[in-house]
Amino acid sequence: MTLLAFDWLYLVEKLVLIAVIISASLLIAMYATYFERKVAAWMQDRIGPDRAGPFGILQPLADGGKLFFKEEIIPNAANKWLFILGPCMAMLTAMMTSAVIPWGSKIDLGGREIALQIADVNIGMLYIFGVVSFGVYGIMIGGWSSNNKFSLMAALRGASQVISYELAMGLSLIALLMLTGSLSLKTIVEQQMSHGNLWNIAYQPLGFFIFFVCALAECNRAPFDLPEAESELNMGYHQEYSSMKLGFYLFAEYINMFISSAIMATLFFGGYDVPFLDESTLNPNIAALIGIAALLAKTFFFIFVFMWIRWTLPRFRYDQLMDIGWKKLIPLALVNMVITAVVVLLRQG
């Protein structure tokens, strides 16, 4: 089906893939809110939500329904246009990152090979960085347009926090790039899958640690959840928000968590690779399904670790946060980068 020298089926398959990935990440984010509450409950020797449906599995639907039916409040003094734009930006940037993640190798549908990745761009990692740093606009615009000093303060904190931790994150990834020599996430995963290569975590443990801490900070998760510090800033940047606009902010946080877990799994833990299994001997469709399951399992593990940390550690003080970012993580990332560079050079020469 080629019309105007363009493969229209290609467009259809990409659109289907986008729809599937968007709805899957929405669903996972929805249930992440449920598991967040469950994990918190288990860690505090409680039971957690168990009223809505068996084991409370309808709880996210109930929460979402409640948010939809709440009254929509836009403060008089708020900049209405920006006030609405804020949560949209947060949601948009949270969803956009999923475009470059390879969710599996490829499936074979009637002789047609469909790659399970929306866009295999050769600057995949740069794209992620661009979009993630874009995410701070959601916080900034929301906090600024609310016209409330607490929201503004929280937005400023959020912005400076994200900018500070992005540096260390970028530096830790440069070391990874020296090993892989590619920015494409697909290539990075295939390198980890290829015979004789270990997962990147084996070569870059320190890099992974820095990346992980920075991911916590970028997602505004505890112990770096200063933009949402209830005790100091009432609520944080979304104090004036109500109804589904608030829901979007909270939801975007969980989507961010899902996506950054998927990125960590992709970059450092072999993506859709199953350890000790040679995928090339299997039927490609089955291999792809196993790969998706493997990637999701790794992702869920990281989501659990995010929650585990949240329900263990208290929040950092703001000066401690900046101290860790600028004086600890960035030098550490630089050292990691230099060591990697030296090792790579020595092995080449």
Partner: protein
Amino acid sequence: MQSLTNRAKPVDRRPMNFMERMYLPAVLKGMSITFSHMFKKAPTVRYPDETRPFSPVFRGLHVLNRDEEGRERCTACGLCAVACPAEAITMEAAERKQGEENLYREEKYAAKYEINMLRCIFCGLCEEACPKDAIYLSETFAPSNFARKGFIYGKKDLLIPDPKTEAADLAKAKGTN
């Protein structure tokens, strides 16, 4: 200042050593503690669905007893009202008429019997004072109402179901069915 016990510990004000400043060992220790709690059994009792067993001396809301033939035992002697330290009980006595022998056990009965559950302190002294085994404290303990008026329990609320005519209700109230 001399301490009352010899268990006081001086505060350790040494500067943190390298391991402590790294913060990570403490983080991992904390995380292992929270992880171990994931496998502990939650002590939660899902209240309306399941209830804790009460001790046999538990004192909840009152009931007015009937005898085996379904006649009210209370003779409106007023000893419970006298014994009540919160002055929560009032009653009005009446004389049994011809043909009411199947309703009241003795010649005198309580035409009106009210307990104000907001005043009651559930001490159980009325139970002890009663010479006719007419008033008992049950295991029901969570009354709820929209108005204060509703907490003044009359005979309608207090009397147990008639063992002859409403045997099923009685068994249900006792939890023996």
